[in-house]
């Protein structure tokens, strides 16, 4: 693998890596909701402290975690300035017809901070949970929906395959784009028309390869007796250990504490 994507799984043996994916996903979901529901400074302080502790436990390199924030840089800027100029309130500075208000500054900063928390929390999840575990966890969490006839297992299978082949596809794109560059395609042209022209020699071979790979995979799966995702057994069963329960309890306690702080305002 010669590529690094923001949020890509990094194999390691940390406390967070060993945790049950269901606990991790449940906690991540609750924390994300709390990040948007909270208002008080105390709540954010507690939430941030918890996220930092989890980040330390994850053994994820801090810079890699911070790098994931680059993906939302422009969105963050947009959000910040939008709030900065449009929130009514106590004026601080006036630039032409735009006024920066104290409330705008505060709301803007809060929104951006919420967004950052969201990205860091999901990055912590994907850094420490392999795609297979993620899909398994999702399958379990969405199991209730199978009751109303949704093919949850099949979706989980599709998700597993998609996650598994994402890096393969990326390497393929890298190779084909280089091969076409050698043949004189200007992939980095500033001229939008030329840029669009460069897509055909890139995407036709990639689609051809993807279809061929899908066919091969289907054959390989059938050859191993796969017929729908029904009644599949798994090599690695998910089992809640004492550590998992402990972690879940701590996450619950933190969540309740934040809710309590919000209530007390």
């Amino acid at each position: 693998m010669n590529l690094l994507l923001p949020g890509m799984y990094m194999a390691a043996d940390s406390a967070l890596h060993r945790l049950d994916p269901r606990v991790k996903m449940g906690t991540a979901l609750v924390l994300m909701v709390l990040a948007f529901a909270a208002h008080s400074l105390a709540s954010y302080a507690l939430l941030t402290t918890f996220v930092v502790i989890v980040a330390i436990l994850s053994a994820a390199p801090p810079f890699a975690l911070l790098r994931t924030l680059r993906t939302i840089f422009w969105l963050g800027c947009l959000m910040f300035f939008f709030h900065l100029f449009t929130t009514p309130g106590q004026a601080l500075v006036a630039v032409g017809q735009f006024t920066i208000t104290r409330e705008g500054l505060l709301t803007g900063a809060t929104q951006v901070y919420r967004l950052c928390l969201l990205v860091v929390i999901s990055a912590l999840l994907t850094f420490t949970t392999s795609p297979a575990q993620l899909a398994h966890g999702l399958e379990v969490l969405f199991k209730p929906l199978a009751q109303i006839g949704l093919p949850v297992r099949e979706f989980a299978m599709v998700l597993t395959i998609a996650l598994r082949f994402a890096p393969v596809l990326l390497e393929e794109i890298d190779k084909i784009s280089k091969a076409q560059q050698v043949r004189g395609v200007d992939m980095y042209s500033r001229n939008p028309l030329r840029q669009m022209q460069s897509w055909v020699p890139l995407f036709v071979p990639i689609f051809v390869a993807a279809f061929r790979r899908a066919e091969d995979l289907a054959t390989a799966m059938e050859a191993r007796g796969f017929h729908g995702a029904q009644q599949r057994t798994r090599l690695h069963q998910l089992r809640m250990t004492r550590q998992d329960l402990f972690a879940a309890l701590i996450a619950l306690a933190v969540s309740l504490a934040i809710l309590g702080l919000e209530r007390s305002i």
Binding site: K175, I176, A179, G184
Partner: protein, 296 residues
């Protein structure tokens, strides 16, 4: 054309826990009309090196100069220099996308903004070079056989008339007949055009038929660089680099150890036979030796 690789290092995803050093301080020179073999085990840095020579990667350190111009730079001069280097990746048929073989082969020349007559002329010439029937021009490349697709993809590079051609494992996945024919055609092309040829391969027996000079890469560094005869007969060196020794050399070494006074630097089977016959002038024991070889 002079290709100069100067103290080239390359680290993939540097500055992350997944960082991997692919090349470390590689320096070499390839001059006009040379036929060079680039060998090394999987992960030794061959593919990274050839991508640098084609100007597709930015060096972590050092540089690649094509007639004095840094290959990776984003200038018009560097772009023109890169144009002079052709590179066919492993399984080049994966890059095929056009509706007809003609259009596929014409794609490179079209990007060079040549006129129609010139493009048509080059396509014919390239197809002939790789041995594809001109009647195939109007067919969809996706209806060709695997070997034909490979040759069409190669033709699409040749049609750009590169002054240096780099082939990364051009025979991978072909049958023995296809391999021999492809290499013979590449060699014929090189002799006709006098271009530089860099051939990346694992198969040293195959390589021995085409190249005059061999560069061995091991763990991102140049482990040896010399004439094909000298490098490919050095079994200690090749084994250390994780490579198989050519069969003729293995045979001659075994005979040498059995007390025969043969030279061990004969790389091709016919050369080995000649050597054995030379040493055993009476032709008596050599016949038996050859029979026992055949039995192997």
């Amino acid at each position: 054309m002079l290709i100069r690789v100067e103290n080239l290092s390359h680290t993939y995803v540097s500055g992350t826990p997944l960082a991997r050093v692919a090349l470390h301080g590689v320096s070499l020179e390839v001059s006009s009309s040379e036929r060079v073999g680039l060998v090394g085990r999987t992960g030794s840095g061959k593919s990274t090196l050839v991508q640098h020579i084609a100007g597709l990667l930015t060096p972590s350190e050092g540089q690649v100069l094509i007639d004095g111009i840094a290959a990776h730079e984003r200038t018009i001069v560097a772009r023109a220099a890169r144009r002079r280097v052709g590179l066919a990746f492993q399984y080049p048929e994966d890059q095929i996308f056009e509706q007809t073989v003609f259009r596929e082969v014409a794609f490179g020349p079209r990007n060079m903004r040549l006129n129609k007559a010139e493009i048509a002329e080059r396509v014919r010439w390239a197809l002939e070079m790789v041995g594809l029937n001109p009647a195939m021009e109007s067919r969809s490349p996706f209806t060709l056989s695997g070997g034909e697709m490979r040759r069409a993809a190669l033709a699409s590079i040749l049609a750009m008339r590169p002054e240096a051609l780099i082939l990364d494992e051009p025979t991978a996945g072909l049958d023995p007949h296809g391999r021999r024919e492809l290499l013979a055609r590449v060699r014929a092309w090189q002799v006709e055009t006098g271009a530089t040829l860099i051939l990346v391969s694992h198969n040293l027996d195959e390589l021995a038929r085409v190249v005059e000079r061999v560069i061995v890469l091991d763990r991102g560094q140049v482990a040896a660089d010399g004439s094909a005869r000298q490098v490919l007969s050095d079994s200690a060196l090749l084994s250390a680099a994780g490579l198989d020794v050519p069969q003729s050399v293995t045979l001659l070494r075994a005979l040498h150890e059995a007390g025969w006074d043969v030279r061990t630097d004969r790389l091709l089977p016919e050369e080995a036979v000649e050597e054995i016959v030379r040493v055993d002038a009476g032709h008596t024991t050599s016949l038996r030796a050859l029979q026992s070889v055949e039995a192997m």
